[in-house]
């Protein structure tokens, strides 16, 4: 841009006769919707951090066996209820790399419990990419490599060991595989039912709408937990852990859909009067096509936000069921199953680390809440 002597401004760029005059001058203002959403979401720091944390947690799941030093059922009969061990780097003021001091269990016959004596003279270095118990990486490849493990003659219980001498840290990692996916499967079921019934009720209206509405009201007026309990009590006890896990997730989903269906229905009621819906119908689109191609994309982002907010309820639901002994059962490892061991006050008082699985539960639930809040706030990029 240069200024002429008479005060006018002239663009210096050479004249291009083929230039597209419809091109928008500032491409950043006309970015696609997802980019706008992303820009707004980035400003929601808590949501962003939570999102990254959850992403990592889920990516970690297939490699839980690799990160964990032990397998979930590996028993260490000499170290029952061992307290957490610290990884140290300096031995007598000298840097020796990560190591642990070995411990020996001593039976305290007076209080009838195990106490541990730490041998502070022999640092036992940690080994990396070492061989341990065999497991399946991502459920497929058999391998015995672990990220780290204790050297021969010592143990590495980062968060202590439980009643049977199993490593709490490893079990938390393995437990995440079930506890975190339960919410995903549950929300899928809830989504299918909620969107299905909600859109049918909202789009067709009339008698179908009335029936679905009443069903929603009845289901919403019932307390969830007793119904969850009743349904999971109906799961046959001879089913395998995988089948039980699956059916529990489905049960959690089955009782969650009414809230979603109600929101979908309300949206449909207002959207079905829009001109583009009329146009699509007149051009002969089937109801299914109108719902799927023209109506649902309108608020799919809102659905995702609300899904993020209802996953934590399912995670807590699974935990509660397993805690009461009606959810996942013993050979399966989930955070609720682990807490089942921490059911009485006495064991928490003497062995506080058995209650540690509650920390990942709280953190994950909080992260989902923050992420959901962040998503919800940023989904309307044009609104300030």
């Amino acid at each position: 841009m240069s200024r002429l002597p008479d005060g006018r401004y002239v663009d210096d760029a050479p004249y291009d006769p083929d230039e597209n005059i419809n091109r928008i001058e500032r491409a950043d203002m006309d970015a696609p919707n997802w980019l706008l959403v992303w820009r707004k979401f980035k400003r929601h720091k808590l949501g962003l951090i939570s999102g990254i944390f959850l992403l990592f947690s889920y990516l970690m799941l297939p490699f839980a066996g690799f990160i964990a030093p032990y397998t979930p059922t590996e028993r260490n009969a000499d170290h029952l209820y061992a307290p957490p061990q610290m990884v140290k780097f300096f031995h007598e003021g000298e840097f020796v790399g990560p190591f642990v001091y070995p411990r020996t269990a001593i039976a305290d016959l007076e209080n009838y419990r195990w106490t541990y004596e730490t041998d502070m003279t022999r640092p036992m270095p940690l080994q990396f990419f070492c061989r341990g118990e065999e497991y399946r990486l991502a459920g497929i490849f058999k391998t015995e490599r672990h990220l780290f493990c204790a050297s021969e003659g010592s143990t590495i219980f980062l968060l202590g060991s439980d009643r049977l001498g199993r490593d709490v840290f490893s079990r938390i990692l393995y437990g995440a595989q079930l506890s975190l996916t339960v919410g995903l499967i549950g929300i899928t079921v809830s989504f299918l039912l909620g969107i299905g019934f909600g859109s049918i009720a909202g789009y067709f209206g009339g008698k179908i709408d009335w029936v679905i509405q009443r069903t929603i009201e009845i289901l919403r007026s019932l307390p969830e937990l007793p119904l969850w309990l009743a349904l999971s009590a109906a799961v046959p006890s001879n089913w395998g852990p995988v089948a039980v896990f699956f059916i529990i997730s489905v049960i959690l989903g089955i009782l969650d859909w009414p809230g979603l269906a109600r929101a979908v229905r309300a949206k449909f009621l207002s959207l079905r009067e829009e001109e583009y819906v009329r146009a699509a119908e007149m051009m002969g689109a089937s109801s299914g096509r109108v719902i799927r191609r023209h109506l649902l994309p309108n608020f799919v982002s809102h659905l995702i936000a609300s899904a993020t907010l209802s996953i934590p309820a399912m995670i807590l639901g699974e935990t509660a069921l397993s805690f009461l002994g009606l959810g996942l059962r013993a050979p399966a490892v989930s955070w609720g199953v682990m807490l089942n061991d921490a059911q009485n006050l006495a064991s928490i008082e003497i062995y506080p680390w058995t209650a540690i699985p509650m920390l990942p539960i709280i953190i994950v639930v909080l992260a989902f809440n923050f992420l959901g809040d962040g998503l919800r706030d940023s989904l309307d990029p044009y609104e300030d």
Partner: protein, 342 residues
């Protein structure tokens, strides 16, 4: 007058809902294959106790468990005559608990009242905590008061109920000398009501109320804050401020009243969650409410006991929701009587 009409209408819909719920519950209870008695018979056969088998067979006839499911349902509710004539829920006969070998009514007895008491206390707690905190958080939004309230709220939402129960029991007992477990001191159990017993129950109620109410209070607080903030952004608030109305008076006089409606309406959402919570917490804390009995009954397929408790829990929430609907109409004349026009 039309309020009365609305109340009758609302009662009617509640009864219909209850009827549908009873079908649902009966269906769920009977989902597991077999029943308590047929399991027992199979077990007795396996161990060769033929004489006991006969007795169990007799009980099966006595409680109509040998009939088709739809007949069992009608007999259970009391729509159809059973082996002993009409004696179902409607006639006040709650059935027989096989596990405890007693009538269901004897087992639940006191537990019913204690359940109602615990839930009532929790609802009161929610209102008493959520109201001041929510108003404060909205009035002082974006200050440390707001952030602290939000933080406490989030923690309340994220901590599983039963964990909170264990933690509070532990520390409550250690530092405040609160009693652990149970609804009253053991020496009062089975005693008639007395001032001492009431006092004992009240002290035992502190922790459970807190535990059951926390997540509800957190959710309620956030909603009240959001509503109040919406209201505070409206032009009439600005006018009031410009005219020099004192902040506290301005807040309580108009916006609070507007933000109050959802507060009452919300009880419909709140109550089911609270009852859920109380069942879980009762199991963990060993309260003599119906929670532990329900768990035991479900595990052993003690169907009449489980069915009755589920019905009672449903009834409790339905009545609560109905009361909140009626209150709402009393509070806000703009809400139309009768159903919404779809």
């Amino acid at each position: 007058m039309s309020l009365l009409k609305y109340a009758v209408y609302r009662l009617f819909t509640m009864l219909v809902t209850l009827w549908v719920v009873s079908i649902l519950i009966f269906f769920i209870i009977n989902l597991p294959p077999g029943d308590y008695l047929s399991n027992q018979i199979a077990e007795l056969r396996a161990t060769g106790q033929e004489s006991a088998v006969e007795q169990a067979e007799f009980l099966r006839k006595e409680y109509a468990l040998d009939r088709p499911l739809w007949q069992q349902y009608l007999i259970w509710v009391g729509f159809a005559p059973g082996p002993n004539g009409f004696s179902g829920l409607l006639q006040g006969d709650f059935g027989w608990s096989f596990e405890f070998d007693k009538p269901v009514a004897d087992i639940v007895g006191d537990a019913l009242w204690l359940t109602v008491l615990v839930n009532l206390a929790a609802v009161l707690f929610v209102y008493m905590v959520a109201l001041p905190l929510g108003v404060l958080a909205a009035a002082k939004s974006k200050t440390w008061v707001d952030y602290t309230a939000a933080f406490v709220g989030y923690i309340g939402l994220a901590t599983p109920n039963f964990l909170l129960a264990l933690i509070l029991f532990y520390y409550g007992n250690r530092y405040l000398g609160l009693p652990i477990g149970g609804m009253m001191d053991p020496q009062f159990e089975g005693e008639p009501m007395s001032w001492e017993k009431v006092k004992s129950i009240l002290i035992h109620l502190i922790v459970p109320t807190f535990v059951i109410g926390t997540s509800g209070a957190a959710a309620m607080m956030q909603r009240l804050r959001a509503n109040l903030l919406d209201e505070l952004g409206k032009p009439y608030v600005e006018t009031a401020q410009a005219k020099g109305l004192a902040p506290a008076k301005m807040l309580t006089k108009y916006p609070l009243r507007m933000a109050f409606n959802p507060f009452v309406a919300d009880i419909g959402n709140l109550l089911p969650a609270m009852v859920s919570g109380s069942v879980l917490v009762s199991v963990v804390l060993g309260l003599q409410t119906i929670g532990p009995a329900l768990l035991a009954a479900l595990k052993s397929q003690d169907q009449f006991l489980a069915g009755f408790i589920l019905m009672f829990v449903a009834l409790l929430t339905l009545i609560g929701t109905m009361i909140s609907d009626l209150l709402l109409v009393l509070l806000d004349p703009r809400i139309r009587y009768g159903g919404r026009e779809a």
